[in-house]
């Protein structure tokens, strides 16, 4: 059976059993080049399929996923998802997306330029060796993934999406004799390879930083100071904040400290955060939400005011609140009006945090962890790289304690982030 026939066949079978159902079929190919200790070590080709079924009957629901598309597997999958759904506890909040007009969406190439991938990767390794001789590349992964997804449900929705994207990640550290920096890592996504790999995201600046972080100083004592969060680190922090406040789990359980804050000020009025999964500035986005709706861009925080939760259809039905127009991610943070240097020049005492290695924040926003690959700031100047320094604070409070947002931003292909300075964070050394 062809892809669309598989979807039709599956949905008809489920509908005949009195079920509301949605079904997605994926076909993907990944070409990947692996680097270990500065050398290309492996070329990897992965062909995969996916068939995901979600079925509801009498308010009982279940999901089953397989990755084979032969008739026998499909028939077994249909029987299994029926059994799973019929086993569940009823919950009237379960639902599938209502009818929407059909649509086909595509982005990026169908095939990688493998020769160019190899050339770019070799050039990257050469450039690191010559420009950053103290850097040891622990690993790097450079891949092109093309995926086609067919999505349909028994209400008549019918979407096809196609996406080809290059992704690069690398982990590295600086070394000089017996001394070494902490490792750091970064990554990005792009639809084109029109530049050298070093030119994307924050890669080159982090390699430069790791080269100078070989000798560090440990801070002593404890103080409450300012912190400047870098774009790499900010993406983690925003993920933490939203994870404990505006997704299904936190709102259904009622543990979100933002549960009554929709339309209210939750952050400094200069903070604007969008989620833009369907935007040319975020090439590694998505077209369709996990619950089968055409994804749209939205603004999550507008001038400090919480504008939307990120509820799925189930979460919306469960809480009586509005379904979000996307699944989040693809965050684009609006720039501020000051250059980064000027922001740092105003800090009396604090640190610049380039990587946070800490606990997953508590539901109330408390966090504590190690400031990795970070720098001590005093009297408006970056003084030296630091080690064995811990930071603790509260994410919910931090959003209200913004000192400044930088003009400069970094695009990772999956989001765009500036540097943000926050006040009143506890910093402790040895």
């Amino acid at each position: 059976m062809k892809e669309r026939d598989i979807l039709s066949y599956t949905l008809e079978k489920l509908k005949a059993k009195g079920m509301d159902a949605s079904c997605s079929l994926d076909q993907s190919t990944k070409y990947e080049m692996n680097v270990e200790t500065g050398k290309i070590t492996l070329i990897r080709t992965v062909f995969n399929n996916g068939l995901s079924l979600y079925a509801i009957k009498d308010s009982k629901s279940g999901s089953y996923s397989v990755n084979k598309l032969d008739r026998e597997t499909i028939d077994e999958a249909i029987s299994t998802v029926i059994e799973i759904a019929e086993s569940s506890e009823p919950d009237p909040a379960h639902a599938i997306a209502e009818y929407q007009p059909s649509g086909a969406f595509s982005a990026g190439s169908r095939e990688p330029d493998q020769e160019l991938m190899y050339t770019r990767l070799e050039a990257f390794l050469d450039q690191v060796r010559t420009k950053y001789p103290k850097i040891m590349l622990e690993n790097a992964y450079f891949d092109f993934t093309h995926g086609t997804r067919y999505i349909a449900n028994t209400n008549g929705t019918d979407f096809t999406t196609e996406k080809g994207i290059y992704r690069f990640t690398s982990m590295f550290s600086g070394h000089d004799g017996d001394q070494s920096s902490s490792f750091n890592y970064t990554g990005y996504s792009t639809q084109e390879l029109d530049r050298e790999l070093l030119a994307y995201g924050s890669l080159e600046s982090l390699l430069k930083q790791s080269s100078e972080q070989i000798t560090t100083q440990a801070l002593s004592g404890k103080f409450v100071g300012d912190v400047v969060i870098t774009p790499d680190c900010l993406s983690d922090f925003l993920g933490y904040v939203f994870g404990i406040t505006i997704y299904d789990g936190a709102l259904i359980s009622g543990t979100s400290v933002y549960k009554d804050k929709l339309g209210h000020q939750v952050a400094d009025p200069r903070l604007v955060i969008h989620s833009r999964p369907v935007s040319p500035e975020v090439p590694d986005g998505y077209f369709i939400t996990g619950d089968g709706y055409r994804a749209e861009n939205c603004t999550i925080i507008d001038r400090g005011i919480l504008k939307t939760f990120l509820l799925t259809l189930y979460g919306a039905n469960k809480t009586g609140l509005k379904r979000a127009v996307n699944n989040g991610g693809c965050y684009v943070v609006e720039p501020g009006d000051k250059p980064l240097d000027e922001i740092i020049s105003q800090i009396e005492r604090g640190i610049l945090i380039a990587r946070y290695s800490g606990n997953y924040p508590s539901q109330n926003g408390d966090f504590s962890g190690v400031a990795k690959n970070s720098y001590y700031i005093e009297n408006g100047k970056i003084q030296y790289p630091i080690s064995e320094t811990m930071v603790s604070g509260n994410l919910i409070s931090m959003l209200q304690n913004i000192i400044d947002i930088s003009q400069e931003r970094v695009s990772f292909g999956s989001g765009i982030y500036p540097w943000i300075a926050f006040s009143e964070v506890t910093i402790s050394g040895k």
Binding site: N34, E36, K39, I40, T41, L42, I43, R44, T45, V46, F47, N48, S61, G62, S63, S65, V66, N67, K68, D70, E83, I84, S87, S88, E89, D91, M136, E138, N139, Y141, M171, S173, D178, S180, S182, F183, K222, I252, S253, T255, V257, S357, G358, N359, Y360, S362, Q363, N364, D366, S368, G369, V370, K372, S387, E388, M390, S392, T426, S428, K430
Partner: protein, 459 residues
Amino acid sequence: MQQLGLEKYAPVFAGYTELRAHENHTVSIGFLKGNNVRNVKSTISGVSARVYQHGSWGFASSADFTDDSIRQVIKAASANAAFLDRKQNKGKQSLPARPIRAEHDYSTAKPRLTQKQLIEFVKQIDQYIAGKYPDLASRYVSLNCLDMEKLLLTSDGSYSYSLNPRSLISISFTMDKGGNPIELYDIFGEQGQFEDVFGDPSDLYPDIDQLYEQLRHKVEGVYAEPGIKDCILDADLGGILAHEAIGHTTEADLVLGGSVAAKFMDKQVASPLVSLVDFAHHALGKACPMPIFVDDEGTEAEDAVIIDQGILRSYLHNKESALHYGVKPTGNARAWSFADEPLIRMRNTAILPGKDSLEAMISSIDDGYYLIRPSNGQADTTSEFMFGVVLGYEIKNGKLGRAIFDTTISGVAFDMLKTVTMVSNEMKWLVSGMCGKKQPMPVGMGGPAIKCRVNIGGR
């Protein structure tokens, strides 16, 4: 899976080749405040080949188990290796081999429960909690089962079948303290399919009652005072220390990539009280939480003694790193899914128990902390580590005091381990270890409680 008859493809191999059929089967059920919010199964399987040519590797995989697909995968992996070999021309030697033929099937002999029965089991636990503890602001009870089934053939003579299951129930409570949610969780279960791991829901009730009491203590808790403190890391934290802070730094690929352990071989890296082993399948006469008899390169797995009485003695190896260092491969190469290449991974990493009682250890501290339950952890190639701590207590004048809120501990492992002055005589395994290193991987981690000095975060 064994019906695939992988051996018939051996004539197609061109040079060193691993051919692996692999299936991950998962079940996940969740109840959030009584709502059955998760009810999911998946079966993800396929075949992969990895080929080695003079230091260059080629890998290919496909979801299909058909004869054509298997032949195509071998051909594509061989072509990838040949392409890279032409470009890189590394000229490396052949890989060392320790071939073995083995079968290790941990599937249950009992009748399998249906999804409905599994849901009923979880629901009964949830109802017990709802009935007994109505003051909880939220509760989440989930069941997660993973069966990893692998069939492996290598060109150097290994043939292995394994089915390695793990079944875990996670319980998380949230209590409200003046609009401030305070959370605590614990995870129960072990290696094995559900029917072999769990009996009756009521078996978990004492653990649930203890979890509730611990949360009540935490709600009345305090922030830890930041700084270097005398601490007792209980067994679960000792386990995560063994895994994150020491284990990772001694994985040979990370050693080659710049880990600080490169300069410490045969040197004192810890107190003589500390011995640390990555066990293959059995430890101290008992089966480990994640027993590995044959790794995904077809190497017979054996224990790797990483630290022996404070001296660093061994790294963890796959075939290629063993070739580089001129030692035997230890059987540490493992892959998460059919589509993944084997990487050097830990199996069951633990500090060995000592002679002290936990009570004596607590009474030996005037001002410090007893840290019991970790959340996440991460370590650097410098051996600087951090672990989240979700359950701990003050120690004042040799006695347990108030509970503390969530915090983080950090330190440089090879420095911190030199501060170990007591090691408890009780060995425990953390049942739910899941390691992330490009691919996820279930692991065992464990040990005794240790007394040491460590940096604790707080306010």
